[in-house]
Symmetry: C2
Subunit: 243 residues, 2 copies
């Protein structure tokens, strides 16, 4: 697969200098630089390119997204043998959400490699996360799955994702609060503060009361979510130590 890359460099030396930066950022020597150059090429850079071969990173992003999904699925599957598929799915969506990908792309320095035409030269956050997915697609095409798995696990996930912290936030605060209450002989109840909107605009505001006093408030699109957030805030306020 040779791509018809849009000519973004004026001289061969310029391109070589760019390839050197890619290699430094990756920490390994690519087999085919074309994939990585393509991964860093935002569609805005190729807007004037004639149609036909697609010369920007969105196809690689499609591929890389699937590669990353499988790697995370594999890691979670092995690491959490007692979690069911629903929990694994939720954990994955927390681990690799948009904000997380944008953050990692920044940390890796992809913002300095991305090529595109942006308003006032400001790189939108999502462009960075998308470039990271495309980069993972490039590594997969260049080096295969086994290499990509090891690289992504060690150099991206374990390096930048605070696994325990993210998973921690995924805890069931409601159960924790109830367990704490039982141990400490406290009575817990919820009260709905407001219940507004319909369908997608549905919002609940719910208080959780411990021994008759508001210990936390939560807001969400379902009662369950609002209660969870209320309990999370209550756990913080009451200094309940979540394992």
């Amino acid at each position: 697969m040779i791509y018809n890359i849009f000519k973004v460099f004026n001289t061969d030396d310029e391109r070589k200098a760019y390839q050197k930066k890619i290699q430094q950022t990756l920490g390994f020597k690519p087999g085919a630089f074309e994939y990585y150059e393509m991964a860093m090429l935002h569609s805005s850079a190729t807007a004037n390119q004639k149609k036909g071969k697609i010369g920007h990173n969105e196809r690689l992003e499609f591929l890389g997204d699937s590669v990353l999904d499988l790697i995370i699925a594999d890691i979670l599957f092995l690491q959490y043998p007692d979690k069911d598929e629903g929990e694994l799915t939720r954990m994955r969506s927390v681990l690799v959400n948009r904000a997380q990908l944008n953050y990692i792309a920044n940390e890796m320095g992809l913002d300095k490699l991305i090529i595109g035409n942006f308003v006032k030269n400001i790189l939108p956050e999502d462009v960075k996360g998308n470039a990271l997915e495309a980069l993972i697609g490039a590594i997969y095409l260049d080096k295969g799955f086994a290499f990509t798995y090891k690289y992504v696990k060690k150099k991206i996930i374990e390096k930048y994702i605070k696994f325990q912290e993210v998973m921690h936030d995924h805890r069931d605060y409601k159960s924790e609060l109830f367990m704490w209450a039982q141990k400490n002989k406290q009575h817990i109840r919820f009260e709905t503060v407001s219940d507004t909107g319909k369908g997608e605009k549905k919002r609940y505001v719910i208080n959780v009361l411990v021994a008759g006093k508001v210990a936390g408030t939560g807001e969400g699109g379902s009662k369950k979510k609002a209660e969870q957030l209320a309990c999370k805030n209550a756990c913080k306020k009451l200094n309940i130590n979540i394992k």
Copy 2:
């Protein structure tokens, strides 16, 4: 990873006979039969099992779903260099939809391997497709990605999915019909025959008229879908050759 498999076999010989059937169905010798046994174990078979380790195929299904998604993404990426990521995503969803997975599972004979307690002993269709995804997860765990890729491509996708036909069916019949009409100086219009139900039960029945005569009828949950089907039927009726 050793699983705490629910005891579904009365004797060792019974289990060995079952493992032989698995091997015959797969066409290769598994390294660890446990994965494949687990993949064929529907949650209904383990409903009375004590909580803790999860002894049915739903976690494997989560993993296999991601493996299959990546394999299809890779195949489409290489096979269709001119399609953008939106088209690739749509193509993938057509290739591995629920009905397609259920069909393949039947063709492979997974229905004869699945273990579970079903009402009147009738295996629900989706249970079969889910078992296929779990099986792909099992192959991945047992043999790794490279083996799974080759196996799924050759023994599942190329064998059971009529790639060209599915892709063909993915054509935009409405555009084709309009292009044909323009070329042949024919007038096209739609008429809504019925518009019933609400939300998920919403149904449209729409006719497409060519030169004032009904050329095709379509039904769907959105106007767009009903129109597409109407145009598909019209293309057939008018012998319009879809490339």
